[in-house]
Symmetry: C3
Subunit: 390 residues, 3 copies
């Protein structure tokens, strides 16, 4: 998202909105512009472009909309015709909110996703506390590596019972090299004792990706991997405000060597399914399409984060289809915290995919009937199958 200055942060909603509207030209050509434009028009009925002059008028209209019953989250969920919405949750989460939805008379499908990143990166500042909460949630001891594995396994089962279909893994690299059991135990013990070396922590994180793959093979949760982001890039912001306050910058990723241990072990196992995402586009044609084309357990995740935009989504199809086809990709999954933007995001992805299919038809490379079937498959059959319980 473009920004122009590093000035003080506004906390008043209307003031922020005025600044935003006055800088509307900064978003030209960006997906934020495309989503917001569609959202403002289709959802909130706004007919004017954002600007310093129109900011208040639009603000008032949105405020009046979201005060009305048809803009309550469940009402929007129903009107958006969402088939499923997945949250990501720490393994220690009670998932009470999910249980409450399940117990309610509303039939919207909102499921948790198992995200153990904080627990497998031993050198995060909060690790000790997080792993203790894991032990409490699982009701088991975590003072041994075996106990830790057991607790993770037990929480996965808890997630699965509340409807979870998948796990989610954000690592700096794609390394999945397993450790010898004794090495894993030794590093885990060192972490508990508060003295883990950076290289040992990295090796443990890679090892745990392998272990998570093994558990996925056993319990059928689909494993989502999205490596290659240097988080907390701005040292001062990180020091003042803590981790995960933005300033995340993508890195090159070595999927060919990184995923080799995991795919060698589980890549042809019918019980295992992984979906691999990237924001390093250079890996599309070089590594990810060849890997997804040859390992039956792998699906290629669609463009995500910095890349779920028109040109980037088009480049994705152009780079991977010729090697992996359409049916080894996973279908569009948005990754947004902006609930009201969901229809615009899916609509944009569907337009781009349809544009790509239309070009194949116009070029005489695909029949119109085939293109229409593929367009429907990309938005329904393929994602349903990619995330189906195994």
């Amino acid at each position: 998202m473009p920004r122009r200055d590093g000035g003080p942060v506004e906390t008043d909603g209307r003031a922020i909105w005025r600044t935003f509207c006055a800088g509307w030209h900064l978003f030209r050509g960006t997906p934020s512009r495309f989503w917001l434009e569609q959202e403002l028009h289709d959802l909130f009925g706004v007919e004017v472009a954002p600007s310093a002059e129109t900011a208040d008028e639009i603000y008032d209209r949105i405020a009046s909309c979201i005060a009305s019953p048809q803009f309550r989250p469940r009402a929007l969920f129903d009107s958006f015709k969402l088939e499923i919405l997945a949250t990501t949750d720490a393994p220690a989460s009670s998932l009470d909110a999910h249980a409450a939805i399940a117990a309610s008379d509303w039939d919207g499908r909102v499921v948790p996703t198992f995200r153990p990143d904080a627990l497998v990166h031993l050198n995060r500042a909060t690790w000790k506390q997080d792993v203790e909460e894991l032990g409490e949630a699982a009701g088991t001891g975590i003072d041994t590596y075996a106990g830790y594995l057991g607790a993770l396994q037990q929480r996965r089962e808890h997630f699965r019972r509340l409807g979870a279909l998948a796990t989610d893994h954000g690592h700096t690299t794609a390394d999945t090299t397993p450790l010898d059991r004794s090495d894993a135990e030794r590093i885990y013990a060192a972490a508990l004792a508060g003295s883990v070396e950076p290289a040992a922590a990295d090796a443990f994180a890679a090892h745990m990706l392998f272990e998570m793959a093994r558990m996925s093979r056993d319990d059928g949760l689909v494993m989502q991997i999205h490596p290659g982001v240097l988080r907390n890039h701005h040292a001062e912001v990180h020091d003042r405000f803590g981790a995960d306050k933005g300033f995340d910058i993508p890195l090159p990723v070595d999927f060919a060597r990184g995923l080799r241990p995991m795919l060698s072990a589980f890549g042809t196992d019918p019980g295992f399914r992984c979906v691999v995402f990237t924001i390093d586009e250079t890996t599309y044609s070089r590594e990810l399409a060849p890997l997804a084309g040859v390992y039956p357990s792998m699906r290629l995740g669609v463009p995500w984060w910095f890349l779920d935009s028109p040109h980037a989504m088009r480049r994705f199809r152009e780079a991977v289809t010729e090697t992996a086809g359409f049916y080894n990709t996973a279908g569009f999954v948005d990754d947004t915290r902006a609930f009201a933007s969901i229809p615009a995001r899916h609509d944009l992805a569907r337009r781009v995919d349809s544009g790509y299919l239309a070009q194949l038809v116009a070029n005489g490379q695909l029949g119109l009937d085939e293109a229409l079937e593929t367009a429907v498959d990309l938005s329904t059959t393929i994602p349903r199958e990619a995330y189906a319980p195994r």
Copy 2:
């Protein structure tokens, strides 16, 4: 090539064909689809799309075609109007089949290509046996490094006499750093004794690329290099079935540093010609086009393997032409084992190149007469010149 499951391998041709036809939708958007469609229609006269329903009808038609005399290999070669077909052969090959063709009354041009990969990678399981066969074929001792070099040189001459135009080199990296003579001798002796370190084997492979360049400079064989593939990615398949059973995944390649020793030594030598291929597209505009643009001995190989498909071939022209022009590329060379697909592959490459030229004309960037001349050059003059004996 897309695939959907890791099930047991069918060995019955008709059963395989039925499975293939039932999964025809999996190939949508892939070059396999485009080639096969053209091949089935133009060569075998098939008028229906493959599907579970049409599988037997198409199978029977193909079976009846290939039983007829006009579908014999030499007849197809003539009807395809092939100017030259090059095989790749181990240095120890007798090349008897090539000699037999030369001695026959058929005038098709089928030539060998010298491929010494197995002999320069000292840590391959079969190396000792391969180098012994080399010595036998050359009729010289290979128990010293000098004998080994002499045997290679002698076999290159044998290949050249039977019409070979080129050598072919598939390495994991693009490194061409030469070793001191004494280091090369020492590592070679260690390999013969069965105890070569991985790093020494890698250094020797790089050294031998440099030596092969020197021999090319001396005997005029064109040197084809295509580095950057991690072979035998699936450990279990490799352990069960041996090397080169698929699961090859491309890697990033460092051409700028890797080729520097070779190009510094021979890159401006009129006696030397190399053609460099890649499946790491990131190197097109960053390294390969600048290198091909500045070293007279180098030609940039066209898209190959995972990349000889419409979008990838178009990206190649868009990425390299603006730096290296058309006349520093090598012209389309298909790399197929599927004999009947050759016309479709060349036709596709010519269409893509013509589409690129047409856009330049439509944009006012090139005259129509120039584009027509370039289109012909790309498919005739340029590859003939690239592989011409020096």
Copy 3:
């Protein structure tokens, strides 16, 4: 620039021009062709295409043009309507020529740019001599690290007084890691004594990028960085003719980690402005657009050197706009030594940008009024703002 042979270099202008015209087809599809065609036609009134037959006619026409007063440099500068022309100059330069222009009655704006590369790379053959000239120019001692820093600072001020807006930095990597003061002093002293290790020289170069950023923050000169080129690729040419005689090949660049120290320290400082260029296109969407999108002090430099060509400039906009927008880029800056090609180069860049904007309008992604405003901003407002004194 394409070339066909490594033959002897012609020194006679007419003979060189005849060879060039006879090889005019080698430039098909390259920007050299597009620029020259426009330049020959629009500036010199040539109506025929270059060829062996037309070479003399065109040569004579150009020779007659440049003998006339309206083709004198200042006359061309005025007729090209150049707003500003910046040279790059060694820190020790007296800048007498700039002073002479300033003192003349001609009002063209020609300003110096501070380029300290030779002074911060301690292992260059000429370093000792260059740093001594720096000391003489600054009139201060350079036998301590503090004196060296002071001399650089003093010369920056001299450049600024003569109109300089920017500094310019070409490094092999993007590393900006600062050294401890004592390490910097120790390495500097070793270099003065003639014995600096390659790794120490690299660390010092990185450190000096950080120091140059600090000075830019203090004196307001805009810092231009363009890393990632392996210079003097051809060893023999380098040995015979010395450094910077061509054979420069781009390398992969790690901007995410490399720029982190500098951007963490100064990236949100209103006094600092950097413009980052690349010829490694893989960094556009992966690193540079996210960095320019999040750090207010950074602007993304436009395609440069091998990349200021139609397809490459279009790829730039397609790769970066969706993450960084238009207003975090720096506007087109040509980087040519060919004075007469300046209008054609800017014209080409404006056409490509306009073509990109036109597609957004045609797709319904941008209003025509917005596109027109952005087109003007890209060629005027944005570069003026990017290089405005801070």
